[in-house]
Amino acid sequence: MAKALIVDDDRMVCQTISNVVESLNHQAESVRSLEECLQTVQSNEYDVIFLDVRMPDGSGIDFLPRICKDPSSPEVIIITGYGDPDGAELAIKNGAWDYVEKPLSLRSIKLPFLRALQYREEKKSAPQPVSLRKEGIVGESPKMETCFDMVAKAASNDANVLITGETGTGKELFAWAVHNNSSRAHKNFVVVDCTALPETLVESVLFGHSRGAFTGANKSREGLIKQSDGGTLFLDEVAELPLSMQKKFLRVLQERKFRPVGSNQEMKSDFRLVAATNQDIESLMKQGKFREDLLFRLRSLVIDLPPLRENKEDIKKIAVHYLNKLSDRFGMENKGVSPEFWRMLHQYDWPGNVRELIQALEHALASAQSEPTLHPQHLPEHIRIQVVRESVQKNKKDKKPYKKKEIQREELPQLKEVREKAVSETEKEYLKDLITLTGGNIQEAIRISGLSRSRLYTLLKKYNLSPSEGRK
């Protein structure tokens, strides 16, 4: 018999779900607040938790990582009364098992509940992986934990993996981690950097060639596909693969057989494929620049790495790790770090992601030389300028609810449009200040703002803000 916990402030919803769970011969309990949920989860083990998004004391989605971290690691099904595809995506990315919308029907509760139980059973009976070797990847945020979970999943089977993420997010390190945690770890991990290969060389480098296959082929050569036999073939920046090669490579993926250039004989290679790209490969597929059939083959498992600007809670941890490592490498004493330095690291958007952060730290250490503390002045100039510009622009924007370029148009926008924009911008800034000032305390925010609880939550949702942002 499984145990379910229903977390919803609506008594009727709790009753409905309890009825469904009990009709399936399982046990159900319910609580009316997140605080109560936390206490109950800490003292009891549950298999499935139905969690409402909008609770009197906070957002269920914000609360999700805390539940997922519980040792019993229950499966969480998010419930909401609002049609919200972005919220659904956020819930799944934060570790929810599924997402159901109110009004609830018997079917909408029963199916995800039974699937969650089935998944949990299978997970329990599956052999537990030895702790994951993270290969120097630093991060503890829920988004990174989701990526590590995917690495563990990828390492336990042989499915093709597609790693997506902006430049500098660590795609190669994740590919290496998949390989090193898999049963193929003792064999070759073969990197194919598709951006480094001129189009004329791709085929012979991948497939190899026989002697005399083309001018200059004085000897036969084994290709990278053969070298990855038994191991992992890592196609980095796979979107750069020419279309003609995509077709040939698709056949290799399907049959694990290929023919070296100029050879009549087919060869076999039992490799596991991990591919990576920083491009929107789906959009390339729609433009006819990437084969649909190949994309479907590549993405049996997808690891989507977050950009650093969406993962700011990890910046300090990553920076400390690399400051220690770089100081060690450069033979320097570990330096202190000023609060302003940390603030600037947090304010900058890091378009080059972790790679750019490491380079900035390297620059800072080099600039600081023997000075004992790192200050913003030690960071590269373009970072300081960008942060200052954004800060000035923000202040300017705060003062002007519409932009000057709009005045220069032939027709001014309607006053209603300008007014709505001004109100929206002011409301958003006000709410940001409110949650910062109150440290995310909802009761206090209600008292100060004079808003009702439901109105406050509606506005927070409208501007994609969360009380937890004030608690950082």
């Binding site: 000897k219 033979g331 380079q359």
Partner: protein
């Protein structure tokens, strides 16, 4: 040690600098080395001939972006280079190895080079890859 020789007008200007490691000047290593040097201005080239000198350079902060070009003449040299792998984390690298033995290739892949070549590869081919990497 920084390689020093006169500037030529025909050299291309690249966005990245080249970090060339070559512990031997024996043919055919010399041929590849000369081929590379002809394509990169000395201002964009740093040449190291011992593993200690290379390590010393990598243990200093670098203000520019580098591409590594490592010519390894034997398996022992390959092991030396492997010991520096952590220092190459952000340096895209071409690794040229001495033979096509399975063990040598396996060791070379542990370095995770962006391009793996062999000493008897056509220098023209290696040069095409290098030019693409230097941008």
């Amino acid at each position: 040690m920084v390689y020093n020789y006169p500037e030529k007008e025909s050299w291309r200007v690249y966005h990245m600098k080249l970090l060339l490691y070559a512990s031997t000047t024996q043919p055919p290593w010399k041929k590849i080395q000369e081929y590379v040097k002809k394509r990169v201005s000395y201002k964009n080239l740093e040449l190291y001939q011992t593993i200690e000198a290379l390590k010393q350079r990598l243990c200093q902060p670098k203000e520019e972006m580098f591409v590594g070009f490592l010519l390894v003449s034997d398996r022992e040299g390959l092991l030396d280079i492997l010991s520096l792998r952590q220092l190459f984390l952000d340096i895209p690298t071409i690794l040229i190895i001495p033979d096509k033995e399975k063990e040598t290739i396996a060791l070379a892949h542990r370095f995770r080079p962006n391009f793996l070549g062999f000493k008897d590869d056509e220098p023209e081919k290696i040069s095409q890859v290098l030019e693409k990497m230097l941008g």
